[in-house]
């Protein structure tokens, strides 16, 4: 009797063929993107989404073409923070257009599609068993978004991942080794320990782990313009690391065993502007903005050079800017 692998094809169900087609469409859709960077953390609430948007803005300010895919379909926040909550999904002649922030960052977020009183829901007759299929369905949706929207010629596509060490590994598997990872933590021993597990999980994947950013690393007081401690239990950056960073070098790894690309102080004004969907550019000339600019520079330094993306202007889009040398 024949065995599975002795039979060519699947008799016409075409399931594997369609999955392969989806992969090919995704690859084609991302062909003009130079770098795929996933921003994640095993821990929730450390500011991944805020950091992703602010980092995108810092990269855009350096002349790079950047887009964000808010992959947190169940808890999307990029639409509100980026000010594209009311944007429509509009099909172009080839692909579906992406809304943009005023500074030109293209953003896909389920928050542009679902009101904040709605939860993402998939029709199913297998209710009560969503643990068996839900993640698969969400990744299929991610694939459709990657394949259908106008990513065009980009220097960086940033993925804002949902929290969870296991989710990071799932995204590494789905997006493939071309995607590099940037982790986010805060100066709390608890958060650092959880993010440490993400580092361990990713170490088994072929993807490049660029390093981590320590968010909420101190509190920026707008009255005295000093950065004060926010967490006292965590290790935080070592004094040597701070000195090194002030001198323009990368901060020192502080316990996670991967490079620290920088630290970002907490700024209440940033939180307020995120709630309002105000363009991040307003904070560029602040300690937060300067920290993010330094992180953007280190991030670019850590990315493996790739051939330049197609410079063809997007349909109805603005011509791409040349990246800094």
């Amino acid at each position: 009797m024949k065995r599975y692998h002795e039979i060519a094809g699947d008799g016409g169900s075409r399931v594997l063929e369609q999955v392969a087609d989806q992969r090919a469409r995704i690859a084609e859709g991302l062909a003009g993107v130079r770098h795929l960077v996933a921003v994640g953390s095993g821990k929730g609430g450390v500011g991944k989404s805020t950091l992703t948007l602010q980092l995108a803005d810092a990269l855009t300010a350096r002349g790079l073409r950047v887009a964000i895919l808010d992959a947190d379909f169940n808890g999307p926040s990029q639409a509100r923070m980026a000010g594209v909550q009311e944007a429509l999904v509009v099909p172009g002649t080839e692909k579906v257009a992406l809304p943009r922030t005023r500074s030109g960052i293209a953003v896909f977020s389920m928050g542009s599609l679902l009101s904040e009183s709605e939860a993402l829901d998939f029709a199913s007759a297998a209710r009560g068993e969503s643990q068996t299929w839900r993640a698969t369905r969400e990744f299929a949706l991610l694939g459709e978004i990657l394949a259908s929207f106008e990513w065009g010629a980009l220097d960086l596509l940033l993925f804002d991942l949902p929290p969870g060490a296991e989710r990071i590994v799932q995204y590494a598997d789905y997006l493939g080794p071309r995607t590099s990872f940037l982790l986010v933590t805060i100066p709390s021993a608890v958060a650092r320990a959880v993010v440490g597990r993400s580092v361990a999980a990713l170490s088994k994947a072929p993807n490049t782990l660029l390093g981590y950013v320590e968010n909420m690393s101190g509190y920026y007081c707008r009255d005295c313009h000093a950065v004060k401690p926010l967490f006292t239990s965590g290790p935080g950056p070592s004094p040597r690391s701070v000195r090194q960073e002030r001198a323009g070098g990368a901060a020192e790894p502080a316990g996670l065993g991967i490079p620290c690309l920088g630290t970002v102080p907490f700024d209440p004004e940033l939180a307020r502007q995120c709630d309002l969907g105000t363009p991040p550019a307003a904070l560029r000339d602040t300690p937060v903005g300067r920290s993010l600019d330094a992180i953007a520079r280190r991030l670019l330094d850590s990315l493996t050079p790739t051939p330049a993306a197609d410079r063809t202007p997007r349909e109805h889009g603005r011509p791409g800017k040349e990246p800094e040398p």
């Binding site: 699947d10 429509l88 943009r100 599609l113 709605e118 369905r137 459709e144 978004i145």
Partner: protein, 153 residues
């Protein structure tokens, strides 16, 4: 999944997929050698897992052309419209707060088909609202291009 006719030791081929019924698909395979047929009947969980891959079962020419409204698996049968999930009913759908559905030109409809199926109803509703606000009685490519320009896309 592949099916083998044991007496013939020959791979069987998919013949028909019946419209989903209460979460179950009926997929008939036939042996090209002896004509023997079997039917694979899935339970809702098996159907859902395959559907979650975002695939359709069977060639379009042999697929069922109609299914009960609201069947969550209709999207996996070529030629059958997907049922709206709760998330897809934003703004109340065509008869919700956005008002009654507008006509779409064939060209505009073809462009809409490029939107991922899951979010297509939301896209349709939003664009119709945009068109209605501008006094348009139908959605054509000019409306789509105007929406792109309006939102800085």
């Amino acid at each position: 999944m592949k099916f083998l006719c044991v007496p013939c030791d020959s791979p069987m081929t998919l013949r028909t997929v019946s419209p989903p019924e209460r979460g179950s698909l009926s997929v008939v395979y036939t042996c090209p050698e002896c004509g023997y047929e079997i039917a694979m009947l899935t339970n809702a969980y098996e159907t859902q897992i395959v559907q979650s891959l975002g695939v359709r079962i069977g060639p379009a020419e042999t697929a069922a052309k109609s299914a009960g409204a609201g069947c969550p698996f209709s999207a996996m049968i070529p030629g059958v419209d997907a049922a709206p999930a709760a998330a897809e009913r934003r703004d109340g759908g065509p008869d919700g707060v956005g008002g009654s559905a507008l006509d779409w030109t064939a060209a505009a409809e073809a462009r809409l088909a490029r939107v991922p199926e899951f979010i297509r109803p939301m896209a349709r509703t939003g664009i119709e609202r945009f068109a209605r606000e501008r006094g348009a009685s139908e959605v054509d490519e000019r409306i789509l291009d105007a929406a792109r320009e309006f939102f800085g896309m």
